[in-house]
Symmetry: C5
Subunit: 376 residues, 5 copies
């Protein structure tokens, strides 16, 4: 959860000049892997040699769509080099390297004048769309949600994707589709590719919400059938935290897509729009499901509290019934335990049995009384 | 409820190319039924042979309004064929087949360039309005709300309606009206037909909310008259879930109609507008009723909790009164049960009766005390 | 309350063609009364013969303002006839007849092409403003709020008002003002008349909120002075329901007036605007008062709950104090009730009195202890 | 509080024609005082003779700013006369006289055609800004907030101010400033004067919120240090009501100033704008402080409830500990109080002392047990 | 906290003319320190002599960026003098001196005509951007958040920064960067400098939120592991207050930056925009984190309450179990403590042991019963 993924970015970067490239995230040992995929409707080439030199800003007239898929962002040097080759703004690169960055979209819409980065070099920047998202996996061993920081940079005819080196390359299915046939992905531009990658991520949101839905069903059954223990509430609380976390991750995606939809003419082609709208619709469905879960949780808590308070009621009733029956009886037997010289009842032959009778009457009376009040 | 209708769409479609046609929904055994209804102010023809070949995109000059009413969406093949004949976008068809799709409107407003679907074929798409809604029935045997996924596709002079094969054809009354006379439905265009079908669905929302209103009245009576049991809260919770579900189903309908109202010039004729506005107004009434029920439920829960806590209070008072009366008495009789050699009271002739008198005084005193405090 | 005024409109109208005229409301036996009032700055004529034939769409050049005041909407025939004479849209007439219709404004802003109504006739409709509101009375015998469905139709130089035949004609004061002098009402157009009638209705909202304010003051006094009984909460709940109902009735009035304000040029003359703004301001005051009552109620509930829980606390303390004092005493006397052969204390001369002393000490100790803890 | 200042305006004005002048407010015996102040950068004249005749609409070419300060609005005649001399709209005068009127701004932006008031006279109205606000004082003797209804009417080169005759003239400091020197107030127009008067009122809002802040600090200390009594909650509730009341009074001021800011060109001169923006900023600070107090109160209530429930817990623990210790002991001594013929323990020499030992062990065991559970 | 920093500004300034310069804040003894920093891409000069005379409005053609860094705002004279030299509006200076001023932005966008300040002098004002923010430090000794009032005034080629003399100069790192190299800060204009100073402040917000996050983790662990004491809630309450305070401090920063972004053409150069957008993004992340903490706190309180109520339940169960076991036993032994002449059981040889058997049975029965109910 977010708690375990705080990397003290504030302390690290306090006082440094803005745009300084520092990696903020978990330590990773593997080297960064870089795949270069070039394709068009008729042809495709894949170079997974991880050579940086092969990744250069393609000319505007290139017949190929250029996709650089970077797996691992823990080497600022690599990201900086790519940034220089693709003329990216230092602030963009800073966000690529910061795994604490929240999902957002930035459009660097016209070539800005040369700005120096931290080490004094000068980089002209080009018009690009920068999208950063979070990939969510369910980690089985830790029973938690794993978060992966994804950055996508869309240019005229190229796309750069950056992912934390966490599990496997999550964009593998898209590469497979490019290899497999000259389908939609191959016949469309870099903007459709951007859509396809975002679609992979949003599809995983559905998986995560379904898993949470399962847990909710389980809890609901537990609570409604009154098998809830004190731990149930702690689980509900954890679920609530998870929901809040996913919500914070998914909500901005809607804004990102809406911004893309408004940017149509510039970077997004007209026939990609229906796909983006479809993606927006999917995101909305995830959000709506999350909202309905949130409501359910608060409803379940109400039920839980009411069960707890009903149990208390039932405990108190039990106590009261016992007390109300045995206190008078104990009093009665106490009376005839007194040592007064003259207690006439004690002398009678059947006194003892009469007392038993009286006590039986008292008991029956009490039971009738409590049954009338609906306590028994 | 929504819980019972989760078909793991996420797992099914994960990694497939967008626009791949997969049916997501309950298994159904009947074959798909297709009715073709052609009509104008003077004439009508109905063909319920379920032949796909009869369903073709009508020419722009046709003197008839063309209505294809498809009953059953569990055969992707059939839907795909219709989609091809009417030049529908693959994403539209994907939504027709997905019973988990939330209500929405999509306008495919200009002919998009040819896009291949999953199997490589090319389909030109035409300007159409796509509306998807949920039909709500009250299922008597399962005491639950039954949801049916409805899709409506409006073109220049045709309308396609898709419904899950669940009960009977819900659009039967409209077909009856077309048969019966040359009324408004016959004299107007396909847009009025779209309105008429949506009107049927919204009318059913009223029925459902009335049924929920009845349940609420029952519960309110139970709670206010303090006949509520612990189960009452579980029923309230279930009702709350149902309300939330209906709300999520009805809310988007308002947006759908507002979008249609804004689309006037293109697909909706001017004299259909008052009808759509009337429909929007009906939807608002349903929504408002749902909101007022939601408020009522939370008010009822407050009353319920207060009754529970008052009961607890009353249990505790009973216990306290019993204890406060019998504890002193038991103590007193205990005193004279002691075996001290010299206890002067024990020797007196009427000691026993004096003790009884004292105990009566204590009891009366306690009763007076509790009456003063308002506990008796 | 709204609960008692549900007339199963959904079941009645399910499946009928839109625009079919059906009365939805309480059964009424009196015949519909129709008053025709014609007036201008210098002259006025009132015809209360209830003859339908006298009510016709006035020519555009008429020197009079034409007001048809219909008292009773339970005869669809009468309303339909009026609708035909004034060329009203069938959907408008449907709303006039439906007492469950929520407050709203509809503007039928240009002559729509002929549309058939349910029975095949053709009615041309004219540009009119349709406003529907709820009149609220406090019914003394039923201690409830009585709701009356009011419809106002504003044309070029005429106004139609429809009211449920419930009590007396609520617009009587306006008629009196027309009779009395050639004041503002006489010198202005039909739009000012519309304002005057709406003003009558909004004035009654003030009356109702003042009455609720009185009830609130009473309850507040009860609760704050801790004289609240369990019934208090039920009354609070009922009040909350009433408030919610009035809110739902008054809120839309604001939107209605704002729409009228925006329609200035067309149907509302410029010098009526200050009056409408004044009316909007009054409506806002009612709404604000209602909101402040809602807040007060939730504050009162908090106080109530806290009093209940304080009472519980006090009950428990009493119990604990009794137990803590008498349990040790009972134990002590029990000790000397044992029948051991050798209990040295029993043999002493003043053992009995020493035990009394010890018990007095224990009691005093307990009392001091509880006083220190602030329980006594 | 607002409760004590309800003057049944609804019943008074029900059925009267709109614009009828009726005073709604507390009864006041003093006569209305009228001050006329004329000033410009070089000169000033003050006439406090209360003569109405001296108050006339100044010519557009007058070299003076004209300020009429009316102290007392309980004489409709006086207000009506002033209204006639300054050509004010009857609805404006109605609002001046109604102390229940909520704060608002009205702009009568162009000369409306002659409209008759209630008594048949005709008044031409001129373009004016009407602002009504509430002055808040802290009344020491009643320990309540005193509300004073203030109306300000801004014309081309004059300003009319109306205040309830409650305490002293609240605008005295501004008059003093005019007398004192030719500062900003003297060198600027009537719009700056409007600002200066509103500034006086908003400054008093700060005083009131500071006083409430003090009360809150006191309560917080009481609650957090657990010295809260049952009355504390009643005080919190009263504070909450006061806050809600002030909020309703202050919120509209923001809208009023924003409307003034938008009206720049017409009635507000350009160099008054920074002052108005400053005033808006002050109002926002008051509002924000009120909001933070509201949050604090609900936080305090949570703490209070938790303390109450912790106390209950502690009461219950005490009871349980006493019971758990003495019940077993009482049982044990009861055992040896039995009169069976053959109870071997009774015959032993040290039986009595052994029993004491056992009882000591039980007691110690119980104490250890409760200490382990954290109850002692 | 805000409570300790209320300086009765309302009472101080009541009745004074707007724009009067009064210092509102903590008493400070040090003299005001003034640094003048002049720089451009190739050169820089720093004058920290605190001489006011050196600080003059630079000519429009100056080749340097002029930064006056004022440390200490408790000397109104100094601020007034600076204000005069830089032609600042008196209202701006008033805000600089008021440490209670909430964060805001004001744009004095065109030269206003001469306006006198309180002491009669005349100051022409120039187009400037005024930004006021709060610096937040964590004060270790007082375990509280320290607030410092910061004012930034941006002109054509100069920037004035005012800070309370609280700790050290918080803008030291920026001065260091200016000294260190001709990086971004040196090569850009005064607007970039404004950004750099605001960035320093926002970076400290991250520090503060991380510290609060640590406290929250600690509390969460305490509560979830049920080690919470009564004090826990008081700490939660304090945390909530702190969060609310920070929220009120950080929220307006977002609006300030958005206003700056909209002001691009005038005062902010185009290539500063990405930096401001980045800053806006950082601010949003702080806000989002604060919101998520707020949710967490309310979740934790729910868990805490549930634990408290579970504890109560467990206390009550213990009591009930003890009572239910020992009350019957005490009754039984009481029976055989009676002194009736004829109690047959007393005479039997093994009566005593049989009673022990019966009591064992009762005890076992009770234990089985409570185990079945899940209480043991």
């Amino acid at each position: 959860m977010s708690r375990h993924r705080r990397y003290r970015s504030a302390e690290k970067t306090l006082g440094t000049s803005p745009g300084t490239l520092t990696y903020v995230g978990a330590e990773i040992e593997h080297a960064t892997k870089i795949k270069r995929i070039e394709f068009n409707a008729t042809d495709y080439r894949i170079d997974d040699s991880s050579r940086l030199s092969a990744c250069r800003l393609p000319g505007l007239e290139t017949p190929y769509i250029n996709w650089i898929d970077v797996d691992g962002i823990h080497e600022p040097k690599v990201v900086a080099a790519l940034g220089q080759q693709y003329h990216l703004h230092p602030l963009l690169l800073e966000d690529v390297l910061n795994t604490e960055q929240k999902p957002k979209i930035d459009i660097y819409d016209e070539p800005t004048p040369p700005i120096g980065n931290g080490n004094g070099a000068v980089q002209p920047t080009a018009p690009v769309v920068y999208v950063t998202l979070k990939m969510l996996h369910h980690s089985r061993q830790r029973q938690e949600i794993d978060v992966e920081h994804i950055s996508l940079v869309l240019g005229k005819n190229y796309l750069l994707s950056f992912q934390e080196e966490r599990t496997k390359d999550i964009f593998e299915p898209v590469i497979e589709r490019i290899k497999a046939s000259s389908g939609k992905t191959r016949r469309n531009g870099a903007d459709y590719l951007l859509y396809a990658l975002m679609d992979v991520i949003v599809d995983h949101y559905f998986l995560i919400t379904e898993r949470i839905g399962d847990k909710m069903d389980e809890l609901e059954e537990q609570i409604v059938q009154e098998r809830a223990t004190q731990q149930t509430l702690a689980i509900l609380y954890k679920l609530k935290r998870e929901l809040a976390f996913i919500r914070r991750t998914v909500y901005p995606v809607r804004d990102i897509i809406n911004t893309l939809l408004r940017e149509e003419s510039d970077v997004i082609q007209h026939n990609t729009l229906p796909y983006l709208r479809d993606l927006a619709d999917h995101t909305n469905q995830v959000i709506e499901t999350l909202e309905s879960y949130r409501e359910l949780i608060s409803g379940l808590m109400d039920v839980y509290y009411s069960i707890v308070s009903n149990r208390m009621n039932s405990v108190m009733k039990t106590l009261t019934i016992f007390s109300a029956i045995f206190m008078p009886l104990t009093f009665i037997v106490g009376v005839y335990g007194m040592n007064f010289k003259y207690i006439p009842e004690l002398e009678t032959r059947y006194g003892y049995f009469v007392v038993w009778g009286v006590m039986a009457l008292v008991t029956v009376g009490m039971i009738v009384y409590f049954r009338r009040r609906g306590w028994l």
